[in-house]
């Protein structure tokens, strides 16, 4: 019974929906504001992501019949629930439970919004949507190998697939190597420059989002924000030192996530969008070698040393 209540509290209160939704809007604002300030613009006001969400909820959407219409309405909802579930799994609080293999579930849930974006672009039957989906699919294949290998190297170095166990164990140099690989993958996962290919506004009019409006677009925005919280939160839980005080653990988690958001914003502001072949080459040639080396080193240390 206690496990059920704890799980529900994690999913619905902290770090779940009650925390994650405002945090998603806050991170979206931080990213937009930081990029704007670095480009010499004033940027949006603090409440702008919330206002955007409310405004989009109040709009009507065009009628779409048939299975394609039903699917188009379903994809953003699946993306939001997956991203919210991923945030709920993060072991932010000390002794917050968790189970063996929750890391694999978290990775699957983190990947769901990306899959939904691919499906949404093809469901929309728009040429821009289809191009965006194809780009997202290629990008996903490229960065996910590095992302998964990085997570695998961390998990193998600590002999566990439980997130809370991973977070509690002391860090090692190899773990930092994995964290670095994860950080390299984050801009691609969050569609930020220089890997903002699937949602390139100037080229393909936001790609898979081009046919979306109103509450469905609001859900996509929310899902994107939740992805921010989940992805930065995953790295933050791996970096954060273990403390017994609950409020201090929350504070450290938020501070590290905030720092990662700022780092990603600087990267986005300092770079221009790369071409798809350059992006694929970057992940397959440069970082894949890096990730494979990390896994090989971990396995070598585990079985030989």
């Amino acid at each position: 019974m206690n496990t059920l209540i704890t799980s529900l509290a994690r999913l619905l209160i902290f770090p779940g929906l009650l925390f994650a939704v405002p945090a998603a809007w806050f991170f979206l604002w931080v990213e937009r504001k930081a990029v704007a300030r670095m480009q010499g613009r004033i940027g949006p006001p603090f409440m702008q992501p919330f206002f955007d969400f409310i405004k989009l909820l109040g709009k009507t959407t065009p009628e779409r019949g048939g299975v394609a219409g039903m699917l188009m309405r379903a994809w953003p909802l699946i993306a939001v629930s997956s991203a919210a579930g991923a945030v709920g799994l993060l072991p932010v609080l000390p002794a917050s439970g968790g189970f063996q293999g929750d890391l694999i579930l978290l990775l699957a849930l983190l990947e769901m919004p990306s899959m939904c974006i691919i499906a949404a672009g093809f469901s929309s039957r728009s040429i821009f949507g289809e191009i965006g989906s194809a780009r997202e699919a290629v990008l996903s294949v490229s960065y996910n190998i590095v992302f998964l290998l990085a997570i695998l190297s961390i998990a193998a170095s600590q002999h566990t697939f439980s997130l809370s166990a991973l977070a509690q164990l002391p860090s090692s140099p190899l773990r930092w190597l994995g964290i670095l690989a994860l950080l390299i993958c984050l801009p691609a996962k969050l569609h930020l420059n220089p890997f903002s290919l699937p949602n390139a506004e100037q080229e393909i009019y936001s790609g898979p989002m081009v046919e979306y409006a109103g509450p469905e677009l609001a859900m996509w925005e929310l899902s994107h924000g939740l992805e921010w919280v989940a992805a930065t939160g995953l790295v933050a839980t791996l970096i954060a030192p273990q403390v017994t005080l609950v409020w201090l653990a929350i504070l450290i988690f938020i501070a590290i996530s905030f720092a990662i958001v700022l780092l990603l914003s600087v990267t986005a502001a300092a770079t221009a969008r790369l071409q798809i072949d350059t992006t694929v080459r970057f992940y397959w040639q440069c970082t894949l070698i890096f990730a494979v080396l990390a896994v090989a080193a971990v396995l070598f240390m585990r079985y030989v040393a």
Partner: protein
């Protein structure tokens, strides 16, 4: 590394954009709203013909004409001002005001036609002697 320096400078250098309803300063030869001086206008309607955006309307009545200007349609190209031989039109050097309803800034003037200027009285011309066949001495051909 240059880009990072640039970003750092921008971060602390203030923003070049501003939040509504603040407006940026205008440049020296800024072309703002068209202003009309009914006292100078002769009602030739050249401005209406030169306005490609159809922002200027001109209606003639009995002994008067109505000149209207809709800034919502104006492209501020300045062709009307350029073509006004009476110098009755000019352009403000300030940003147009913010308005919320369509046609809020529209202006209309009904001007009485000026009576035609009196013709100059014909003066008797002195008779000029017909030129001779031979040029005068020292004169030039």
């Amino acid at each position: 590394m240059n880009i990072l320096t640039m970003l750092w400078t921008n971060l602390w250098g203030g923003s070049r954009t501003m939040r509504f309803p603040l407006r940026p300063d205008v440049t020296e030869h800024y072309r703002g709203l068209v202003t009309f001086d009914p006292a100078l206008c002769s009602g030739c309607a050249i401005c209406k013909m030169r306005c490609t955006a159809k922002a200027i309307e001109f209606k003639t009545g009995k002994g008067e004409f109505t000149w209207s200007y809709e800034p919502g349609q104006c492209t501020f190209c300045g062709r009307c001002v350029e073509g006004c031989k009476d110098h009755a039109l000019s352009q403000e050097s300030a940003c147009p005001p913010i308005y919320l309803t369509v046609g809020e800034l529209k202006k209309s003037y009904t001007v009485a036609r000026k009576p035609p200027a009196p013709r100059p009285v014909a003066v008797a011309q002195p008779v000029v002697p017909a030129p001779t066949a031979e040029p005068a001495i020292g004169g030039r051909q």
